[in-house]
């Protein structure tokens, strides 16, 4: 995707320029991770310790009580929360919401990836005139504000009994993400060498057979990139499940987190611990699969 700059004779940078760039780079690193530092610090202390000294940057004492409480769904209270009479509902709902988010994310990723790869192949390889229009439609569809879809989807889902079901959330998210998946996959499939496919055709493979046996396996890195991006966006999606779901047992993680808004002044430390647990899965995915994701994101933007 990117052409590394030709290794020109590498002169040493003048020291003033090196120092300046190094300082700017430190500022960039601070910008990227700085806001996450308070999250970690707050989640590792008790509310009492946070409130005791309003000027302190570091916790007086460290504890994992917040995480224990959340991961046990409010069951493991420990000494810090023993006396507390009210716990945010989000604590109790965390485990099931985490699971729901996983289920929705996996389903959305699989369905959107399957449909989009079929479509992207026809656009990238088959040269049928109207598939170009489909690509343009996908670009336009990506610009549609999600809010516009929310009102009609709510009314439609209400009529067809899809409110308060994970299926409803999956359907809405697949519809919203499909065009993006097509945009990511099309340039990737177009970049694969055509020779192997042609060879398979000469050996008597049908066109679909060539797609299924040759193109898909070759496209594995691109499919993986697209899958991770789809999963991350689904894991982040708030508006769709917020509107489709009102019963606690179907809530996904962002909905449960949004529920903290109404009572967050109660327990900041607990809120930051929940936030940290909520961002951990996608942060880990992104850091581990960075190169794939970068490739997919750049491809998906450039087709626009």
């Amino acid at each position: 995707m990117t052409i590394r700059r030709a290794a020109s004779p590498r002169r040493r940078l003048p020291w003033s320029r090196r120092l300046g760039l190094w300082l700017l780079n430190l500022a960039a690193i601070a910008f990227l991770i700085g806001p996450l530092v308070p999250v970690v610090l707050a989640s590792l202390q008790s509310e009492k310790s946070l409130q005791q000294d309003l000027r302190a940057l570091l916790p007086r004492e460290y504890t994992l009580a917040n995480f224990r409480l959340i991961l046990s769904g409010g069951a493991t209270r420990g000494p810090i929360f023993e006396q507390v009479s009210y716990l945010p509902k989000s604590v109790e709902r965390f485990p099931s919401a985490f699971l729901n988010s996983l289920i929705v994310g996996a389903a959305v990723t699989l369905i959107a990836l399957a449909a989009a790869s079929l479509s992207a192949y026809t656009i990238a390889r088959m040269g049928v005139w109207w598939t170009r229009a489909l690509l343009r439609a996908s670009v336009a569809a990506r610009m549609v504000p999600l809010v516009v879809l929310m009102v009609p989807l709510y009314v439609m889902f209400r009529r067809y009994g899809l409110l308060n079901s994970l299926g409803g959330v999956v359907i809405a998210e697949v519809g919203f993400l499909l065009p993006y998946a097509v945009l990511i996959l099309t340039p990737y499939l177009a970049s694969l060498p055509a020779e192997l496919e042609d060879a398979a055709r000469i050996d008597g493979c049908t066109r679909f057979g060539a797609f299924w046996r040759i193109v898909l396996p070759l496209a594995a890195p691109g499919l993986a990139a697209c899958a991770v991006i789809l999963f991350v966006i689904s894991w982040h999606e708030l508006l769709i499940p917020l509107i489709v779901v009102s019963r606690p047992e179907f809530m996904t993680l962002p909905v449960v987190l949004a529920g903290l808004v109404s009572d967050y002044f109660v327990f900041f430390t607990l809120m930051m611990a929940i936030c940290l647990l909520g961002l951990l899965p996608t942060a880990a995915l992104v850091l581990l699969l960075r190169t794939y994701i970068v490739r997919g994101l750049v491809a998906g933007a450039l087709k626009g």
Binding site: L21, N25, A42, T122, R125, M126, M150, Y264, T282, R290
Partner: protein
């Protein structure tokens, strides 16, 4: 760029080629079949709802009507009420401020970071490259909540840090004043969305051939000349793309508003998406009005992207 820009290759075998099996589906039929799932999704979950939103915006729809399932025709009444609603205009103004400020910051910060890490001889620049996507990975609601905590007037870390370095003597209630609250929401949003721009610009910078810079060096160009004569012109297409994407997404901002200010203080941070959400899904559940506002928003976003695409691409192609 690079491998991404390859033109679609037509199948190597024209119809009726001797390698094509006689029993095989025609190309057009197979393409249609393979596009069926995506087309069904596009039509049923995108196109139809957009049209249906238009239908709803021309009808009277609230909770009572939802129960009976009958929506009386209202003509342009919803749009009339929308245009008469000062809160709608206020939300639009806030949205414009929000989008303008965030897009400018996203582009400038994105360019800045991309240029700093362009050269991997800069110490720790590889670490920055690894971390670029971290804010992108943070769920928007979580982003809102964590910034709500940072900006909190009592226990927040912004006050703690500013007091520690002596910039302020007493805690500031950042989310209590209208201007500050808007700035806070913009800050939070920009932190999450800038990485995407850094990524695009970084990829584009890597694609600029080194020979161009060498030639400029030979000609004795200053760093500024190098930037304005080589780097910036070559980055223009990608900046155009990022402008379009960031503007349309900026118009949809919702999660950070919900998590940080809920439109407050007063209605100082009501934006367009928040207006649609509040009117449709909170009492009095005025879904007809919500649909009208959603359509108005879609038209605005559509018009802006259209103008952008025309203007920017003409410049790029010139």
């Amino acid at each position: 760029m690079g491998r991404g820009g390859g033109a679609p290759t037509a199948g190597a075998f024209p119809e009726g080629h001797r390698f094509a099996r006689p029993s095989e589906l025609g190309k057009g039929a197979l393409a249609a079949l393979m596009n069926l799932p995506a087309l069904a999704g596009l039509v049923l979950i995108l196109a139809y709802p957009i049209g249906y939103a238009g239908y709803l915006s021309l009808h009277e729809v609230n909770l009572r009507h939802l129960r009976t399932g009958e929506f009386p025709f209202a003509g342009w009444a919803n749009f009339g009420r929308l245009l008469d609603d000062p809160v709608f205009w206020l939300s639009l103004r806030h949205t414009v401020v929000f989008v303008a400020a965030s897009v400018v910051l996203e582009v400038l910060l994105g360019l800045g970071v991309a240029l700093v890490i362009e050269d991997d001889r800069v110490a720790l620049s590889r670490m920055t490259r690894v971390l670029i996507l971290l804010p992108w990975a943070v769920p928007p609601v979580v982003n809102g909540l964590l910034w709500a905590f940072i900006f909190n007037g009592q226990y927040g870390y912004l006050n703690r840090v500013l007091m520690a370095v002596g910039a302020i003597a007493e805690p500031v209630n950042w989310l209590g004043a209208p201007g500050l609250a808007m700035a806070a929401v913009i800050t939070a949003y920009v932190w999450r969305t800038t990485p995407f721009n850094i990524l695009l610009y970084h990829a584009a910078l890597q694609g600029i051939p080194g020979e161009l810079y060498e030639a400029a060096d030979v000609d004795g160009a200053s760093p500024w000349q190098r930037f304005f004569r080589i780097t910036l012109p070559l980055l223009t297409p990608i900046i155009a793309v990022s402008l379009i994407l960031r503007t349309t997404f900026g118009f949809m901002v919702f999660d950070e508003i919900l998590a940080i200010t809920q439109g407050g203080p007063g209605n100082a941070t009501w934006v367009a998406a928040w207006y649609t959400y509040k009117t449709s899904f909170q009492p009095p559940f005025d879904i007809g009005l919500g649909a009208a506002s959603a359509w108005a928003l879609a038209l605005i976003v559509g018009a802006i992207s259209f103008v952008y695409v025309r203007a920017l691409y003409r410049r790029v192609e010139a």
